[in-house]
Symmetry: C2
Subunit: 382 residues, 2 copies
Amino acid sequence: MNRFHQTAKTQRRIFVSIMTARTNDMFPAEHLRNFAVQVFLHFGVPEPDAEKASEVLILSDLRGIDSHGVARLHTYFDMLSLGRINPKPNVKIIRERKSVCTVDGDNGLGLVVGPKTNEIAMDKAEQFGSGWVSVCNTNHYGIASYYSLEALKREMLGWSMTNSTKLVAPLWGAERMLGTNPISIAFPGKKNKPIVVDLATSAAAYGKIEIAKRKGKTIPRGWIINSDGDMTEQPEDMINGGALLPLGSERELGGHKGYCLSAMVDILTSVLSGANWGPFTPPFALRQEIPSRSVGKGIGHFFGAMQIEGFMDVDEFKQRIDEWIEVFRNTKPVKGQKAVLIPGDPEHEEEAIRRKEGIPLIQPVIDDLIDISKKTGIPFSL
Amino acid sequence: MNRFHQTAKTQRRIFVSIMTARTNDMFPAEHLRNFAVQVFLHFGVPEPDAEKASEVLILSDLRGIDSHGVARLHTYFDMLSLGRINPKPNVKIIRERKSVCTVDGDNGLGLVVGPKTNEIAMDKAEQFGSGWVSVCNTNHYGIASYYSLEALKREMLGWSMTNSTKLVAPLWGAERMLGTNPISIAFPGKKNKPIVVDLATSAAAYGKIEIAKRKGKTIPRGWIINSDGDMTEQPEDMINGGALLPLGSERELGGHKGYCLSAMVDILTSVLSGANWGPFTPPFALRQEIPSRSVGKGIGHFFGAMQIEGFMDVDEFKQRIDEWIEVFRNTKPVKGQKAVLIPGDPEHEEEAIRRKEGIPLIQPVIDDLIDISKKTGIPFSL
């Protein structure tokens, strides 16, 4: 489809979209998914890849992780428009030894390279009991838990990690050196929904600082430092050369531990694969600073899969997970809290609601999608 | 050796020990190691196992992790004396699928079961590129990083995790449900000493609360809660039914993330292996509360090993790690700090000093060792 060709029908639809789009409009997941598919197809992404990439994006929206869903579609659009991402990557294993291998993502969309390499890890696990893949030359891959949840469909335990653009200071450092480098793993229950661990290794998400700044509010001590390395409660200090703190925030509360975890993710995903690591990780969005040096190709991911059956009867394991969930749910709660949550609870709840009621989008995201629609001629409608 | 038989020579040595033992006396590592070997042999632990167990203990002392070294020998002594730990375990694989397996530690010393099962993980990695072992029916295994450091000797990346007696509250819980559940992994440099990640998933170590209590000092907000679940700065609140907080401490600073990591360790080590998990993990020491229920056998460990060569040329990887280390060491430091540390730095420095100058022991630890000496007739001397 020519991006400058718009039919009268398309133009009418865009107009209707603009007229009806209010703050927190609800959009059916299926509509957003179809729109994303069309956008990827528009750039020549092969259909199965466009479908998969959209599935990853929309799962994020469904699970309430709004920052990683269609809110990012305009960034993918920008990168594809400028030819910075390869729409048709030749994802290939470049080194291998039975259960482990390194994959070159050929500068494809992380949303395409991620699912393909996660499949490689699972195929290896099918054959060897476990499979481990370090990936270079890739881009941002969406939510880490998409991949660990996929593993559950094959009765496996799946690990997923990625590095990302620098935002976080190592403990005792006064500059950005590491990404928010997330770790995810999931465990299936029999009667219960799975336990889903999915955490960035920073104390807080960058998005929270942006929101505070927009609202003119201060932020909790322990989220960021200013450009001198002093802890600050002013969100604008982050924008003016500050950095996020690692999980644990300061030495006394274990900030060195968050730094260690972030370093571990950086090394497994990127030093080991031949990708760019630490401060040299290329930016996700156009507005972000381009690193002064390149020490590898693209960013890096790391996937692992282990067959549950290799350790324990699958059914027995799921029953044990059910018991774990029930025992932890019945922990005596602190005053003012109803109950202890199980990792993944908030996302499971959100998904149940959003699959029924649709996905709420804020006006700036709607505007972004309409902008893509205008530029590509792909109809965006409710 | 009969534990009640003491030669005149032994008695003289003990006497000399008692007379010369001052606070922070320095003990050559070799002497402490030999003493530990004799203690384990005394209970019928086979010689290679006694040697290995002592090696694990002393490495902890050498690396400055005083809480996990000979300071714990009296606890192992107590458990062996009462027959609560099997001195001659038949450590065996009970389920297996190529690169993954479950091991039953036959209620052996964790210091014996740990090294044996870590070897199994590495042997599997030799054969399949990677190896992953979940272990049940075992006991406390010393420092987590002993195992990841062993993997480096075989050009592998080694993971090590263990669960432990309940001390930590899940986020929003007001009672102890999880251990301090550590995670370790190490990465080799070519010119530089390895990067060693070794962290408990709690905000602070229990030992720090004990020290504050002894000194009559308050502790930082974020380390513990009292029995109502309120954060407190009074160390005695921990003893009176309180709990440690997970890494991140509170919701606002990411306390849910520390809880997630601790849960991950608990499940991989113990739900997956058939060990006791969460609040049912049996105690390490006699003075600790015995859980109301058993949901498996002993405590659990989890080991992983991956051949570096399966991902990248080993030499190239080590050079990339060297570069990572140099770049991170040159991070602009915060005011008042000389430089950013690399994970493992403090322990490498301590080890270099202690290998030369000996291991400093505080009087209560010396008293414990002398007590063992008295009860077993094994000479303890400088």
